[in-house]
């Protein structure tokens, strides 16, 4: 079959020269009777419809003219002030001038990538990592170098090796991309000691650190470690955050926190004329009077129950020697199949058994990870999660039996 895009082939930039397989997406809905443990989606039942409608009315009532007009490229000022206040509650003291409002956290990743990555530049990523970030780095034609993670996040001993090797090769690594808290897809978090080691290495080699903090506010138990940004303020860390998990993904609202000196270099890269002032103001109005804090507290309870249901059913139904992570927050459990099994091969069998998941291969850049798969507990109620895991356990069992 002819590629319909072939007639344009003389025009494509290198990044677009080859077709890219569509990522696993909402669009590709599961069959009716399959329980989807796939989507990294918030629970739609959790969305605060009425409070958002009321907030919207207030935005349009009072000061609506600036909410509907072009605003500063860095983003709506009231929203940035609101972010400053929220971060202060987290012991993070930043100025509104350190903040750029973005279309979700993902646009923050894109801006930082454009800030430092020329084609061929070295970017260090965790293995596994967030698929969307990997796609962004590939679009920038970065040379990706993997550092494995374990139950405590990025292995800083391996990071040191990669940095030393790149130095020997005469390459200045530009960026270390990490999800230190409630990792996507792995669910794990990096303890304080490793965070210090990571910052020390970044300083030693003069590398920027991109801290993707999409999930840290959804902690169910344990104590939070300081943000990487907190350990090196105005230094080498840029943090990206999102309202997708704590409010609603369909807003597409996020922000980044960067050393103030970098903001003037980031702004010319944000060519979308600023992220929606209307959405920004909507979030501010919604958050007022402690509503956002109370909402996040509710979400913690909701997702904790789901995490517990998933882990309990894995304990019950996953045949040994299957292993999995035990996240203290976030959306995901990362499962390793018994040796000899392959997540991609298991998927059709699992779907026949009535459950789906995301095979882990796309989360690695060098083709590893065939034994891994991602399970999401955020999207479905506990009984569905339990039923789904039971079916998954059966599918693994059958595969082990060579059936």
């Amino acid at each position: 079959m002819t590629d319909p895009a072939a007639r344009y082939s003389a025009l494509f930039a290198r990044r677009a020269a080859k077709p890219v397989a569509a990522l696993f997406r909402a669009g590709a809905a599961s069959p009716q009777d399959v329980i989807p443990l796939t989507y990294g989606f918030p629970d739609p039942g959790s969305f605060p419809y009425d409070d958002l409608a009321a907030a919207s009315e207030r935005v349009l009532d009072d000061g609506g003219d600036t909410a509907l007009q072009y605003g500063p490229i860095a983003g709506d000022e009231r929203f940035r002030d609101h972010v400053v206040e929220r971060l202060r509650d987290d012991d993070l003291n930043v100025s509104a001038d350190s903040i750029i409002v973005t279309s979700g956290g993902s646009q923050g990743i894109q801006l930082v990538t454009e800030l430092v990555v020329d084609p061929g530049d070295a970017v260090i990523v965790e293995a596994p990592s967030f698929i969307g970030a990997l796609q962004t780095f590939r679009n920038a034609e970065a040379e990706l170098h993997e550092v494995p993670i374990d139950d405590h996040g990025m292995r800083t001993d391996k990071l040191a090796e990669v940095l030393a090797r790149l130095t020997v090769e005469g390459k200045q690594p530009k960026l270390i991309y990490t999800i230190p808290t409630f990792h996507n897809p792995a669910g794990v978090s990096m303890p304080l000691a490793r965070r210090h080691e990571l910052i020390a290495l970044a300083r030693q080699y003069g590398v920027l650190v991109l801290e993707d903090d999409a999930y840290s506010e959804l902690r169910f138990d344990g104590e939070r470690a300081p943000f990487l940004y907190e350990l090196d303020p105005e230094g080498l860390v840029i943090q990206v955050r999102t309202y997708s998990k704590i409010l609603a993904a369909g807003l597409r609202l996020g922000y980044l926190v960067a050393p103030e000196a970098l903001i003037p270099r980031l702004l010319p890269l944000k060519v979308d004329v600023g992220t929606s002032p209307f959405l920004s103001r909507l979030a501010v109005e919604f958050a007022a009077d402690g509503r956002l804090a109370a909402h996040i507290e509710r979400l913690r309870g909701l997702y904790r129950e789901r995490r517990d249901a998933m882990l309990a059913s894995l304990d019950e139904y996953a045949p040994p020697p299957t292993t999995w992570t035990r996240p203290e927050g976030g959306f995901f459990v990362w499962l390793r199949l018994p040796e000899g099994l392959d997540a991609g091969a298991l998927l059709p069998r699992a779907e026949q058994a009535g459950v789906s998941f995301i095979p882990g291969t796309a989360n690695f850049t060098h083709g590893d990870g065939s034994r891994y798969l991602r399970l999401t507990f955020s999207f479905l109620p506990p009984d569905q999660l339990t039923a789904g895991i039971e079916r998954l356990g059966r599918a693994i069992q059958a595969a082990l039996a060579g059936g």
Copy 2:
């Protein structure tokens, strides 16, 4: 003074290696007593606050779950269907699969740039052109080639020369960027014959055409010429559009229409996980029952009156041999100062006289344009426009007198 970003200099990508002067923006507010003919902003008095609040309530009431959830990367399906219907009213028959929803028109320009431009690639732009697009091309490290415009838009005879020259130099031009209708900043429009010539040249040289159509719905008089996309459907044209001028800029909502074969190549470049489904649905709900059409009709009347006021005052107050364009729609008048005057030098004098404008130099890529300036008639009521132009006329007069 030390550049605070200097400590990061080993990390910057080429595109971010040098500080970029901040563009003229809303943030840089004019002094209280200065009439700003600067902002390319819609009139905030025109925003349909109540109808938007009601639309927002309906979105959150009915089907709010999908409006608040992640959606397809190409954008909300109901919004794309709504766009298809609106385009059909304009005799443009496209499929929803040809549409990608974007954060304003500007993100569409960015996606198309990333689709075709590698560093050093030739991009052809009008002189003058839209500052935001020029910034986007510079971020992509395009090599920019200018084609002058006249009262009928891009000069296709000069375009032919540039294309022929690039061919002799062995360069495949990747993109022709044009604003054929109600040009920003020049206000002019391209008649049908030139549109045909442009398409013929694009075909002859196999170049993609990016048709920026931000203003065509704000026509005050004259007959519309077919869109470039209409003259070459599923061919070499990608059109970008926005709701910034016809609804509210603060939403940051736009879309692109591309040959269907190009959509799968564009989607992996849209790494922001899709433009806000909530905003998209808000626009759909607002538009229902003919509200958007009626609103645009109102805007046409509003802006026509302002255009008329600005042109009448220019006729009255601008000293010869000042010349200016007479737009049939859009937001802008483009003014050429008498020989020997410089818009940059005139600005402080004009501000002292109580009026401001945007000097034209930033709209050119090769340092030309010092005699030009942009005047915006969309943002202020007629009496203010008249007062502003009277002050501008006085400032030009004084400059001519060498005062």
